[in-house]
Subunit: 105 residues, 2 copies
């Protein structure tokens, strides 16, 4: 279950991962669950929000760019990225951004 991430006062970083899926479900759900479990253990990780309809959007929040770099280079995550490119995603886009301001209720 995904809720609104309880992020600290800006600045911090957001990785916006947008994707469209193939029909190939071979191991996808299991991988996705494992990646959530794993990302939550990463240094500098601040939170995650995720939803999928026609397009899937997962936004992860990070304290700094080095933490994002380390997560991208995590070996289990590298395997998932490889399988994602090969089988699970028709298309995807990763956007690295710096959150400068936020507000809400």
């Amino acid at each position: 279950m995904s809720v609104i991430a309880n992020t600290p006062k800006p600045p911090y970083f957001a990785v916006i991962f947008t994707s469209t899926r193939t029909e190939d479900d071979n191991g996808y759900g299991k991988m996705a669950d494992r990646m959530v479990e794993l990302v939550e253990q990463q240094p500098g990780f601040l939170g995650l929000e995720s939803a999928r309809e026609d397009v899937g959007i997962t936004v992860s929040y990070w304290a700094d760019l080095d933490s994002i770099k380390n997560w991208k280079a995590n070996s289990e995550h590298l395997d998932a990225q490889k399988a994602g490119r090969k089988s699970w995603y028709d298309s995807f886009k990763v956007r690295i951004s710096k959150v400068e301001r936020d507000y809400g209720i």
Copy 2:
């Protein structure tokens, strides 16, 4: 239908709007459709991605901060924001971020 936005080379800006809904559906769908129609006409608007499950995530992309400011101050949009705070959203968060890098397939 939402697909991956065809954004230009960074830098550009992303507004990450995350929300959880109330049960109150009074006019929500109609408003949401109208806001999409309207946002696409705004100067500086670059694209939109949207999905909702437990949490709703809408990311809009913009050429610059002034365009975001103008959209926030749009009168129809102000009415929608007011109704959103009052009726449609249990909670929401708006994050203004600068996209510094992107890649994908």
